[in-house]
């Protein structure tokens, strides 16, 4: 029966309505109370922490070695995080949650979709946003008590000392992705420590299934990055996440370890020994920690030599030239006869032509051109002098492709030496191809 036609009760509304009204009033009162208490908790400070902070951090404040003094150290600490990517995201996530008071994040990049499988503070909706701003926003949802200072620039020789000067960090986390910046950060920290409050450097890196972390510059006898790796590795040995892949949880593990080192350092729980921890996700013993050398007495940055013989300013060094990074990308200067644009390749290729794809088999399996053969560059190089192709092959028109058009130049060169007469490197590789053929996957 519809309610309207019910005979009206003059005295009391139906019991169901009464309950509903009471519930509503109860909720209102609860919210009022929450608001009152909440305000109190936010504003009422006891020994340097608000009441809500005692609740928030209680689970780790009860640990031996932390307590109230430890939490106050964390709250007054300053941490400089350079790189807001695969390492920086998990590091900042935990530092924020733990209540590290001031975090400066330096990164000039914006969020791309290919970052999201590992850079876990960014998200789909933030594609195109500055990474440092994206982290600031994500952190504010985790813990509003933490001050995040985003710097929307890359860390360079021009701004390095100024950023260290203004943030006065207790700890610097190197969360970058290339050797040039790693040397720059270490040198800048060594120079900064000559005149300012000491900053300890925690440097981590990850590629593929592997990661490494080392804590540097924590006292006068501790090594810097240059002490450990005095000369940069050759360019051809350097791998990047873009080219060689990275499993998201591996950067997650290393970034989390960086946050752990950072918290230990702030709390004074670090044992003050140089050790490097190496993580190999696929190894039977995935973690290994090794005792490393102390400061090198002949190190160019923090050695014992007279002041005028050692590094004075990061602006005196061309870090890209030092690590050979400016020679990145291959240009073998093949003749015009042996190069072809993607557009011409698409227009001219015939069914009888040979297409050699020099990528590793796993990448060939992700996507490849119909009718192409997979001969990985490593196999081609191995075969250089061993096997000669048959005559029919060497006369066919042969196109060589790879992911970005670097390895395919080397392969073209190898094939020419093997007496192939008509070989063409497809310039820009499959990355370029996918911009013309919109249905071809770009990974």
């Amino acid at each position: 029966m519809p309610e309207t036609s019910k005979p009206s009760e003059p005295s009391e509304p139906p019991i169901v309505d009464q309950i509903s009204q009471l519930r509503h009033r109860l909720r209102e009162l609860e919210m009022e109370l929450e608001l009152e208490q909440g305000n109190d908790e936010e504003t009422e400070s006891v020994n340097g922490l608000s009441l809500s902070e005692y609740k928030r951090y209680g689970r780790h404040m009860v640990l031996n070695g932390i307590g109230l003094p430890g939490q106050r150290k964390l709250k007054s600490a300053s941490v400089l995080v350079i790189g807001a990517g695969g390492l920086g995201c998990p590091a900042v996530q935990y530092l924020t949650a733990t209540g590290v008071g001031h975090i400066t994040i330096v990164d000039g990049d914006t969020v791309e979709v290919s970052n999201l499988q590992r850079q876990i503070l960014h998200s789909d909706a933030k594609i195109g946003m500055h990474k440092a701003l994206s982290i600031k926003e994500a952190s504010s949802h985790i813990n509003p008590n933490v001050t995040i200072e985003p710097v929307l620039q890359a860390f360079t020789t021009q701004n390095a000392q100024a950023i260290l000067e203004s943030s006065q960090p207790d700890v610097v986390l190197d969360c970058t992705d290339n050797p040039s910046t790693r040397y720059l950060i270490s040198d800048a920290v060594v120079i900064h420590n000559r005149t300012s409050k000491r900053a300890t450097l925690v440097s981590a890196a990850a590629t593929g299934y592997n990661g490494q972390i080392i804590t540097l510059c924590y006292n006068d006898q501790a090594p810097c990055y240059r002490c450990i790796i005095p000369r940069p590795p050759p360019v051809q040995s350097i791998t990047s996440c873009a080219d060689d892949g990275i499993l998201g949880v591996v950067t997650g593990t290393l970034g989390t370890l960086q946050a752990t080192e950072c918290i230990k350092l702030i709390l004074g729980l670090h044992n003050g020994e140089s050790a490097m921890t190496v993580y190999s996700a696929l190894a039977s013993t995935p973690f290994r920690t090794m005792r490393m050398r102390s400061r090198k007495h002949d190190c160019y940055a923090d050695g014992d030599q007279a002041f005028d013989k050692k590094l004075k300013s990061v602006q005196d060094i061309d870090y890209l030239a030092f690590t050979g990074a400016q020679t990145c990308g291959t240009d073998l200067q093949l003749s015009d006869d042996n190069e072809i644009s993607v557009e011409d390749f698409m227009a001219l290729r015939k069914a009888s032509d040979l297409i050699i794809d020099t990528r590793p088999p796993v990448e060939f399996g992700i996507c490849h051109l119909d009718g192409s053969d997979n001969i990985p560059i490593t196999n081609l190089l191995k075969d250089t002098l061993e096997r000669q192709p048959d005559l029919e092959d060497v006369r066919r028109t042969t196109y060589v492709v790879c992911r970005r058009g670097n390895d395919s130049q080397i392969a073209t060169d190898v094939l020419l030496k093997k007496k192939y007469t008509n070989v063409k490197n497809v310039k820009g590789g499959l990355a370029r191809y996918s911009r013309v053929d919109k249905k071809f996957p770009l990974y």
Binding site: G83, G85, G86, L87, G88, C175, T176, D177, N178, P179, R182, A204, A205, A206, T207, G208, N210, G211, Q212, I228, I229, P230, R231, P232, P233, P234, Q236, S237, I238, T239, S240, C241, D244, I246, T251, L254, M276, V278, S280, A283, R288, T289, M290, R291, M292, R293, T378, L381, K382
Partner: protein
């Protein structure tokens, strides 16, 4: 008289690719009239165990820049680097430094 040492060798940071994707090797190393050292080990690995791109492992008689050498979990600088003598059962780890992130 030759002195022989049985060693365990491990590779990390992607160096295993140069050694046919083997992460661990058992190596028997000998030297005439003296104890075998790390220099001997690097030479043996380069001569007998790498098929291609040796330059990604060695430079002259030592490892290329960016490879860390650890003997029984200690930086080799704490044990005389190339001249460090090896004992039976020593674990020598070669690790390529990484830069991604």
């Amino acid at each position: 008289m030759s002195v022989t040492r049985n060693l365990k060798v491990e590779f990390g940071g992607g160096l295993e690719i140069l050694f046919n994707d083997q992460r661990q090797l058992k190596i028997t190393l000998s030297a005439d009239g003296r104890n075998p050292n790390v220099r001997d080990l690097i030479k043996k690995l380069a001569d007998e165990h790498i098929q291609e791109r040796k330059e990604l492992f060695v430079e002259g008689e030592t490892v290329r820049p960016g490879i860390l050498v650890l003997i029984n979990d200690c930086d080799w600088e704490l044990r005389d680097e190339l001249d460090g003598e090896l004992e039976d059962g020593d674990l020598v780890v070669f690790i390529s430094t990484l830069h991604g992130g």
